[in-house]
């Protein structure tokens, strides 16, 4: 693809602005950045609006904005599961997470594993929660780079650049990530919080323009939907003895909603807010992003209607990135060059915000629940923060290495597995908020059962799909593997808790009290 000078200039200007902001953020609502809760949670001082931008930038990632319309473009109605998914997240956030915020605030917890450690007094269970979080998040960071790669290619920026006479493959990605790593190291969570404001402004402008201008060019929504294969327009109905796509759709939506808030980067965003009310207010106003996501999903159909796949100028892009190139191609086809720059900057900056928060969340987990718990219990607050800063660098380097050295397919498959794994921490973290009846060893065995069963189902699908058809009393039920594995996990945890509680006389240590949750 040829270099598009106007678009590239606008893109680069916006990128530089954001970099300056990222470094300046260290001074914003200044705190002592040698404390982990200052560096890694922004001092727990983010009010409703900042939390809204932060969580919006965090939960709705660049990859989401590329992959969801790509799924609609390729598979039709099934890709729209992102909408029920985001509808179901917020009642859960509203009802349950103020409780987690309260206990974390009362006890100084920085991670979900901190809470599990305090509630159940079990180092093993806390370690399991921490490792699940880190492992599930790493491929997610790598996927943000895919979102960025796609728009860089769309701009015609060459991926191999000659620096000091040496050809460097993937140089633009490398540069972007070095910059990102530097200001995250410097400013901590304040950097993505500030950048998120710019990213979201760009995003809303892009979405508004896209859903007005593109349908007008294509002759209206009726025409767009008319150009979709009728078979892809709706989910395939079930047959007797087989619930079909509809069951997969429902469990994908519900399971993804349950998993999302358990991800470390969601926890970090939620715990950094200044009050329980700020968490609840965000559950009410975050759906604004869901609406944007729903409209963006429809861009996949607009790309079908515009016929971008058959256009020779986009053949190379589709060849390299598959359907993930649908939306960039649609923008290049429909927008003037300067606005392509704005839209692509929204996506690329949209990759930086979650990547920064995810690496900070992983760093918090490693520092609190592995380093301080097992390696150096006497670490000072400064040592703790220094370790976290270094880990945030290591995590990003790992993601970069992953995406440069291995096929993109691996990152996608691992992220699919990540969802199956992270949801297995639900009994310890979310049920644990309401009861300490569950026995830590039972929770650990349930976690093992859930992870094993979920991974096995994904393996049987050759890691290509996350829905696995169960046979329940003669009826075939295609079900999101994370969801069915979670049910198994809960059943095991409850049954074993009953047994362990009956056998064991030893008192368990719960360092939280009922008042901590209020």
């Amino acid at each position: 693809m040829s270099l598009n000078p106007v678009a590239v200039t606008i893109f680069l200007v916006l990128f530089v602005c954001v970099t300056v902001l990222g470094f300046a953020a260290a001074r914003w609502r200044k705190g002592d950045l040698s404390h982990l809760h200052e560096w890694g949670l922004g001092g727990r001082r983010f009010g409703t609006l900042v939390t809204w931008f932060l969580l919006g930038g965090d939960l709705y990632t660049a990859y989401t904005f590329v992959a969801v319309p790509a799924l609609m473009f390729g598979a039709g109605a099934m890709g729209f599961f992102a909408v029920p998914y985001t509808v179901l997240v917020y009642p859960l956030m509203f009802a349950v997470f103020p409780r987690l915020w309260a206990v974390a605030h009362a006890k100084g917890y920085v991670t979900a594993a901190d809470f599990v450690r305090g509630r159940f007094g079990s180092r093993g269970l806390a370690l399991a929660v921490a490792i699940t979080g880190i492992v599930a998040t790493m491929p997610y960071i790598a996927l943000q780079l895919v979102g960025m790669e796609v728009v860089l290619a769309g701009l015609g920026i060459p991926m191999t650049m000659t620096i000091f006479g040496v050809p460097v493959p993937d140089a633009p990605l490398l540069i972007a990530f070095v910059v990102l790593a530097a200001y995250t190291y410097n400013s901590g969570l304040r950097a993505p919080a500030m950048i998120a404001v710019v990213k979201d402004a760009l995003l809303y402008i892009t979405v508004l323009a896209a859903v007005i201008i593109i349908p007008a060019e294509l002759g209206g929504y009726a025409k767009i939907f008319a150009s979709i294969d009728p078979k892809a327009l709706l989910l395939a109905a079930g047959k007797p003895g087989n619930l079909g796509q509809q069951a997969a759709y429902a469990t994908l939506g519900l399971g993804s909603a349950l998993a999302l808030l358990l991800y470390p980067h969601s926890m970090t965003g939620l715990l950094s807010s200044s009050s329980k009310r700020a968490v609840q207010r965000n559950a009410v106003i975050l759906p604004a992003y869901s609406f944007a996501l729903g409209l963006i999903a429809l861009l996949g159909f607009m790309a079908v209607a515009a016929g971008v796949k058959a256009m020779p100028e986009f053949a190379a892009g589709f060849k390299s990135f598959g359907n993930n190139f649908a939306v960039p191609a649609l923008f290049l086809h429909s927008f003037p060059a300067w606005f392509v720059g704005v839209a692509f900057a929204a996506i690329a900056i949209g990759a930086l915000v979650p990547a920064a928060i995810m690496s900070i969340a992983c760093a918090n987990l490693f520092t609190r629940n592995i380093y301080k718990e097992f390696l150096n219990p006497d670490a000072s607050t400064r040592q703790e923060t220094d370790v976290a800063k270094i880990v945030s660098l290591v995590v990003k380097l790992g993601a970069l290495f992953f995406i440069i050295e291995l096929p993109t397919q691996y990152a996608i498959q691992l992220q699919l597995l990540g969802g199956i794994w992270i949801i297995q921490t639900l009994p310890a973290v979310l049920l644990g908020l309401y009861t300490r009846w569950l026995h830590p060893r039972a929770l650990l065995v349930g976690w093992i059962a859930g992870i094993s069963a979920g991974t096995w189902m994904a393996y049987l699908n050759a890691f290509k799909s996350s829905t696995y058809a169960l046979n329940i009393l003669g009826t075939v039920v295609p079900c999101y593997a994370a969801f069915s594995a979670l049910i198994l996990n809960i059943v095991v945890a409850v049954v074993l808790s009953a047994i362990f509680n009956a056998l064991s006389r030893a008192p368990r240590i719960d360092t939280t009290t009922a008042e901590d949750y209020a």
């Binding site: 729209f80 909408v83 929504y221 009726a222 327009l233 200044s274 009050s275």
Partner: protein
């Protein structure tokens, strides 16, 4: 002082939070084209509308359970 928080009963408005789950899990109900809205099939506009409705259903619980904290 209040009784310990663990004893506090659920406010009725929290039951409203279950409605979106019913609306979204009942896929056979909305898996159809008609009635269309401005050329958009029911399947799509119904789910988009629930993004807004879901947020509205949180409001009673938000407004009626202020407990002196910010």
């Amino acid at each position: 002082m209040d009784k310990p928080a663990a004893k506090r009963r659920f406010h009725w408005s929290y039951w409203l939070l279950l409605i979106p789950y019913v609306a979204m899990m009942w896929v056979p109900y909305y898996n159809r084209v008609e009635p269309q809205l401005a050329g958009i099939p029911f399947f799509y506009w119904y789910q988009l509308a629930w993004i807004v409705l879901g947020a509205v259903l949180l409001l009673p619980a938000y407004l009626l359970t202020t407990r002196g904290d910010r």
